[in-house]
């Protein structure tokens, strides 16, 4: 974990209002785990006050480079999109806990919604490296919002697509793809783990399905962040208290997305 000015190698629009950026950081390239994120100061001295959290999309180990994939939704991401090759960006990371890939894992299904694919490419690469069976379900609003397909295809696993308007793959929600794939309720689906990132409602559906099918499911959550390191308690997400935490009694129980997450077991989260 470190804070540094890094040099931008590449920053291009890869789909409508979605950008891929590559920057040099051997520290992050060497230490990052899938699911971790960085906090970027967009716009330099005169940009918005707070850093912006962005997932690590891919590591280019040989070059000591790191990629992020982001969607322009407001001032910070807009300023980021205006960054040019050769510019410097100040960032902090890698942060957060990342996905856990159990050693006894036989098969994994990755369920992605929209820009939620950002942390999932890195995860898919790691899973592939371990020769674990991998199914990737990619969903988005329209075909223009389906991202990173070619990189995922390169991994050789199976990929299924769904778009809400039917412009690519199946028409419908990606969670329906998952449901179809899991078969009728009660079908035996052992030793599969599910990993998901996307809009909160989509993740809630995937979490519910996983629970039904008794599949362990890890979700990568979002929250507005100030510090990114667990110090300000700004990024709270409501979770179910573990047994020994019953001192909170009747109060709700929160965890920090930045430090305790961003990846949580879907069972923990109060959806």
């Amino acid at each position: 974990m470190h804070q540094a000015d890094v040099i931008v190698l590449y920053n291009q629009e890869v789909a409508h209002s979605c950008y891929k950026m590559r920057f040099l950081s051997s520290e992050i390239a060497e230490s990052a785990k899938p699911g971790q994120f960085i906090m970027i100061k967009a716009g330099g001295e005169f940009g918005p006050l707070l850093r912006r959290p962005l997932s690590i999309h891919r590591i280019l180990a040989s070059e000591g480079a790191v990629e992020i994939l982001y969607k322009v939704v407001g001032t910070g991401t807009r300023l980021l999109s205006e960054t040019k090759k050769g510019d410097f960006l100040n960032l902090l990371g890698p942060l957060g806990n990342g996905f856990k890939i159990n050693t006894d894992l036989h098969a994994a299904v990755i369920v992605s919604g929209g820009i939620g694919v950002a942390p999932l490419l890195f995860l898919a690469e790691k899973i592939s490296e371990k020769k674990i069976d991998l199914l990737i379900l990619l969903g988005a609003k329209t075909k223009n919002d389906i991202l990173a397909v070619s990189e995922l295809e390169n991994l050789g696993g199976e990929i299924k697509l769904a778009t809400e308007d039917g412009s690519l793959g199946c028409r419908g929600l990606v969670s329906e793809l998952l449901e179809k794939r899991l078969g009728p309720p009660g079908s035996p689906v052992s030793k599969i783990h599910c990993f998901t990132c996307g809009p909160r409602r989509m993740m809630a559906r995937v979490a519910k399905l996983s629970k039904q099918y008794k599949i362990p499911c890890q979700v990568s959550l979002e929250a507005g962040m100030a510090c990114g390191i667990g110090a300000c308690l700004g990024c709270a997400v409501e979770t179910k208290p573990r047994e020994w935490e019953n001192y909170f009694a009747s109060q709700p129980h929160y965890q920090r997305v930045c430090k305790d997450g961003p990846v949580f077991d879907s069972d923990e989260v109060v959806w």
């Binding site: 006050l49 707070l50 100030a226 667990g230 300000c232 308690l233 990024c235 929160y254």
Partner: protein, 319 residues
């Protein structure tokens, strides 16, 4: 500020004394922005700080407000953490062991929902010898008196501080709320009631609205404004209070550079706290300490204490 030539290029003396707590330098984190120290410990050398100040502790654990808890504003941010904390017992058992590893004095920020709670926390914390001082947050709603904050009324402030004063011999800092008509009156009450020092300011109450949903951006509706946006207000309050009280002041509010920090000292603060700026730059405190040292040396000021309250205004007796 008085300038003194410094031909021998001595390193400037940054040490200050706040209410009997000796600090290597006047720079410390603001409560609630530094967690319990562990979080920043991975990034900076805590031994270099003037003091450690931890997230406000209450008698019982609080889980805080539902999210969203923070939102950015122009030059600042609003937070409505809702005083989430592990409670006094867990603080002592789980957080103190880490904090006692450092040579840096530990100041524990605390609060209560009733005067009784304030007293109990203060008492328990005072039994811990690792703790160098207490910082009492009086901006909290008093549940007994209909949720109106203790620290917005001189009489309530006097009463509460007196009660806490009776249960602790530790240096007692009282942290003032800026959401008042006359902060001087509150400061005087706290001093009279036995405060050894005053920390100011806490956040200014504000609000943000999401036009597209028609809802407040914070679940709690309102939150506390911090960051560079509030610096002019904080500086004014430090200056106002410094002219009426004798106890030392800790200046807080939007400090992001060594120059900001020094301006607060010129206004009358003997030490300063850095909050929001640490979110943007995790090494801001060591950088501010170095920057202060450099500034003093370049300007031939060998002791930072000379700066305190040195603002050149016609009627300043300190000049």
């Amino acid at each position: 500020m008085k300038k003194h030539s410094n031909p021998t290029k001595e390193r400037a003396n940054l040490s200050v004394d706040i209410a009997g707590i000796k600090l290597k330098n006047p720079v410390m984190p603001a409560s609630g922005t530094f967690g319990y120290g562990e979080e920043f410990g991975e990034y900076i050398d805590i031994n270099k700080l003037g003091a450690i100040v931890v997230k406000g502790i209450s008698l019982n654990p609080h889980s805080g407000n539902p999210p969203p808890r923070i939102v950015e504003t122009a030059g600042g941010m609003l937070n409505a953490i809702g005083l989430e904390n592990v409670g006094t017992e867990a603080f002592i058992k789980k957080k103190l062991p880490f904090l006692r590893k450092f040579s840096t004095p530990l100041i524990v920020n605390f609060f209560g929902k009733t005067p009784r709670e304030y007293k109990e926390v203060a008492k328990k914390l005072s039994e811990q010898e690792e703790i160098a001082g207490l910082e009492m947050n009086i901006s909290c709603p008093n549940v007994k008196e209909g949720g109106i904050a203790f620290g917005i009324d001189p009489k309530r402030t006097y009463k509460l501080v007196s009660q806490v004063r009776q249960v602790t011999t530790l240096p007692l800092l009282v942290k003032l709320s800026p959401n008042v008509t006359d902060i001087k009156a509150i400061a005087l009450s706290a001093e009279e009631a036995g405060a050894d020092g005053l920390s100011l300011i806490n956040t200014i109450t504000g609000m943000a609205i999401d036009l597209d949903t028609g809802k407040p951006k914070l679940h709690n509706i309102t939150g506390g404004l911090s960051g560079p946006a509030i610096k002019p207000v904080a500086l004014r309050m430090v200056w106002e209070v410094s002219r009426v009280v004798k106890v030392p002041l800790i200046g807080i509010g939007g400090i992001s550079t060594a120059r900001d920090a020094l301006e607060f000292m010129v206004a009358g603060a003997s030490a300063i706290q850095v909050g929001t700026a640490g979110f943007t730059n995790i090494t801001i405190m060591p950088e501010i300490i170095e920057g202060m040292k450099d500034y003093l040396e370049v300007n031939g000021i060998i002791d930072i204490k000379r700066l305190v309250g040195s603002l050149k205004v016609p009627d300043n007796p300190k000049n």
